[in-house]
Symmetry: C2
Subunit: 167 residues, 2 copies
DNA sequence: TGAAAATCGTTGCAAATGGAACTGACCCGA
DNA sequence: TCGGGTCAGTTCCATTTGCAACGATTTTCA
């Protein structure tokens, strides 16, 4: 909002984007995606919230439960229980952080690493449906824009917009 | 989309889009959005899953619980309980469908209609954060693309991709 | 027409989730 | 160094959710 290029456009903000047209599809895709993965990974005893932790570990191995919670935007209680389940199923193991005895470091087991291709195959099958009819450019634009949007939420405390003086 | 301009490009589908880069941000935005709305609507005793039903009723008043469930991609049990809560709080009321005595028709009360501006204000505040730094064109492109993606999931039965012969 | 199948809604049950309280460990400043 | 504040993790409790079974109604079709 601090650059002035946009404000020079003659029809910049005449029409405000309807928030339902953004958040509705996001919720719909999220729920469909979740139900899809639950069903696909049921045979591996990987529950609804758990595969996202595996996905995160695939490129950030050895992080703490709290880090996982923050990156996935779930409570640390949920993170603890998901890791516990994954540990019981043999997908991850935990070691105490030697430099911080409060924290664990969560690592993938061989079994956990073997799930990578399986999970990715399921995810790709889903995004193939999602993106059927998209050109490659459209996929890239979408990827860039949704990333650009999501990182706006990443700082803690974006959510409380103001004092609730509007009611 | 069916034009062949893209297939002439030399590097069309060489790189497959990483599904995590799509579904990760979607889950993150969804959870942040949900937590945000729960907190903002707590004072009105509108729970986490309930405001989405109100949003749907704002442009589809008088539909059945099952229709609401399908449009929001939740179970009909969840839909029934959400409507029950909204009814107890005085936001909606139900009438039996005269032509189908199994079904209800869910209508907004005056109190429910009054919530519209409040909910929209909260939603807009959230999308303002989400879209801060977006040009108007980017917002529109994003809106179009996410809608285009979501409707791919709308047909029942898209999720089961095939027989599970991959494990 | 009449029985089987499908549809709408409800409820019991199990799983997932967040908030808050709690324990143990770390950190910072007087 | 020691005491309060912070942080990682766990657990209790309440809420939310989906699935499956069920009752009541409607639809289908032979």
């Amino acid at each position: 909002m601090e650059n002035s290029r946009e404000t020079n456009l003659r029809e910049t903000n005449l029409r405000e984007t309807d928030p339902r047209e953004i958040l509705g599809p996001i919720a719909y895709i999220y729920r469909t995606h979740l139900a899809y993965m639950v069903k696909e990974l049921e045979a591996y005893r990987v529950g609804s919230g758990q595969f996202e932790f595996l996905l995160l570990l695939y490129y950030k191995d050895g992080v703490s439960q709290e880090t996982l919670a923050k990156e996935l935007k779930v409570s640390k209680a949920t993170s603890a229980r998901a890791i516990q389940s994954l540990e019981e199923e043999g997908y991850v193991y935990r070691e105490r952080d030697e430099t911080d005895l409060r924290a664990y470091r969560v690592y993938l087991t061989d079994k956990g690493k073997e799930m990578r291709d399986i999970i990715f195959k399921k995810l790709t099958a889903f995004t193939d449906i999602l993106f059927s009819g998209f050109t490659f450019e459209e996929k890239e634009i979408f990827r860039l824009l949704i990333h650009k949007a999501a990182i706006k939420l990443f700082e803690p405390g974006v959510e409380p917009p103001s004092d609730r003086s509007d009611d």
